[in-house]
Amino acid sequence: MRIVVQDAPFDLGEEAGRFAQADAGVGAVVTFTGIVRNTAAGDLKAMEIEHYPGMTEAALTEIAERAQTRWSLSDVLVIHRHGHLTPGEMIMMVATAAPHRADAFAAAEYLMDYLKSRAPFWKREITADGAAWVDAKDEDEAALDRW
């Protein structure tokens, strides 16, 4: 298991390639990557991500450990950036490796659902109109009910 919280960019290709150099029992690798999406108006200048140092790593570790208890997983990777990002930049990724695909998919979705609503990150969008905190979505909270 590897949990990384950093302000520096990460290389999805490098991370995914390295993660999938797995042991002989791995048959399935799922990755999810979150990317800074522009606003509908196309006027996003930047996204700033604040986090809670210390608690962030602990929360991500706990979420990953719960996923490992619940599904048969060979490995888990979580990378999440904070600080100043521009549209098109990668915010975060999770990766799961498992003997079977159903476990790898379910665990990746579980990690994402919990990471969205239970890991201490807060996004702020900077546009020509100024800065605005991104509101949590009811659907993200509701997504936890399925687990």
């Binding site: 979150g34 991500i49 604040e50 986090h51 809670y52 210390g54 608690m55 602990a58 929360a59 999440h80 915010i91 975060m92 994402m112 990471l115 969205k116 609503s117 239970r118 890991a119 201490p120 990150f121 807060w122 996004k123 702020r124 905190w133 991104v134 509101d135 949590a136 909270e141």
Partner: protein
Amino acid sequence: MQVLYFAWVRERIGVPREEVETSAATVADLVEELSAREERYAVAFADRAALRVAVDQTLTDFDASLDGAREVAFFPPMTGG
């Protein structure tokens, strides 16, 4: 006790963290005590449904005890990922 604020809670209160002398028994007591002290706390804590709280870096709720707590943090619902 260290009290930390994040995102718009931090902006409304004006500092990211502060040392607070308090004998509040629960998180709810601490919120009332701070809100009574200064308007900026009352404003930041006005809508509790829009607030989340962590005691010693673990998510909890307003009923949580502060007995032995070293660090309390207030923030809006998380928006990571």
